[in-house]
Amino acid sequence: MFKASTAVRAARRSSRLTQKQLADGTRVDQASVSRVENDRDVEAKTVDRLLAGTGHRLYAAPTRRDDASATAVEIRQQLRNGDRDRALRALIQLNDDLLAEDGLVRGVLAIAEPETTTDLVWDAALAALVAWRLREGGLPLPTWVEAEQRVLRERQVLAVDDADPVPPYSEVPDEFARRGVLAWRDTFASV
């Protein structure tokens, strides 16, 4: 389900604005910004005004699938709960959703820059997955996917379970390898 809170928060953070800066720029009080971002006020007019303040606007797309921004929020919540298994399932769901859509609609699921999951490896994995599936579909990549902060300085495993083996490089999808994230290709394959 579309959540205005996710859209506004992700748009604000990708525009590198604090809540106060956004409030000042849109003449909306800071408490209202906070209410929107915490899902306590979703009045369309306020949401539109806040998005305008970040240089974004809403469009309708012919899909009901969640986008990368919603996935990032889900991953962050699951990591906060210490549930890496469910965090991975959120990433796999995005993978399945990207594969289920073709052409521009697939790209739409990745247009808005997701906010951080608070974990650099998962941030890089999210970008890698999107890059992998968009390239596969012959689609251009949004800027955030290629951002430096989504490339790890040293290779790291996308750690989910302690018993997971480390993949050999040959089993890591190229876009994951480029970003230093060691994850198995077939983790994203349906049986």
Binding site: M1, D85, I92, A100, D162, A163, P165, T187, S190
Partner: protein, 193 residues
């Protein structure tokens, strides 16, 4: 659209699926495997939006898919939340030990069953996708009372005769059992469908 379903969502979905099938007087034998089966019957687990079902016997896939589409529309789920892809993938063991099925719902016309834990373990050992299947294998080893790699190999070969655990699956089971047998997870309450 939710990014993933939880156990309660699946239970609600199946309950409404039964109601839709009853409305049209359908007969349906529905068998579930995969993550949904695990979450419904065996342990707490997140699932993606896919509920893996075998071909409906008796009854028709089309009738069940049509009923599932009605449920999907009501909940803003994808129409294929319940699908038969797993049958096409030929993942179910068919050559060795017979697969047992445990009922989670049944009336005169409609039954819903999930595969027994041993079958699900064999299927997970076959898939052995790191991250995706590891926790499932760990908990199923506990549920099946399997405490050694040799026992896991035996069970696998019972279901897939002539086939052996892959090196990767062997390594995962070895790592899981490195500190001894896994305690069986507490199963959730029976799903009220």
């Amino acid at each position: 659209m939710a990014s993933a379903l939880e156990r309660d969502d699946i239970i609600v979905g199946l309950r409404e699926l039964v109601r839709e099938l009853r409305k049209t007087g359908e007969v349906a034998g529905i068998r579930l495997v995969g993550g949904a089966a695990l979450a419904l019957r065996y342990f707490d687990r997140g699932v993606t939006r896919d509920v893996d079902a075998l071909h409906v016997r008796p009854g028709s896939d089309d009738a069940v898919a049509a009923a599932a589409a009605v449920v999907a529309k009501r909940h803003d789920w994808h129409a294929l939340w319940l699908n038969f892809e797993v049958t096409r993938a030929d993942a179910l063991p068919t050559l060795g030990r017979p697969v047992e099925w445990l009922p989670i719902y049944g009336d005169a016309d409609i039954t819903i069953e999930v595969a027994a834990k041993e079958t699900l373990l064999a299927m997970k050992l076959r898939a052995n996708r790191p991250g995706r299947d590891t926790r499932d294998i760990r908990l199923l080893l506990g549920l099946c009372g399997i405490g050694t790699v040799a026992e896991a190999e035996r069970l696998y070969e019972e279901f897939y005769p002539g086939d052996a655990l892959s090196d990767r699956a062997f390594g995962m089971v070895t790592a899981i059992l490195a500190d001894g047998p896994v305690a069986a997870p507490v199963p959730p309450p029976a799903p009220l469908i």
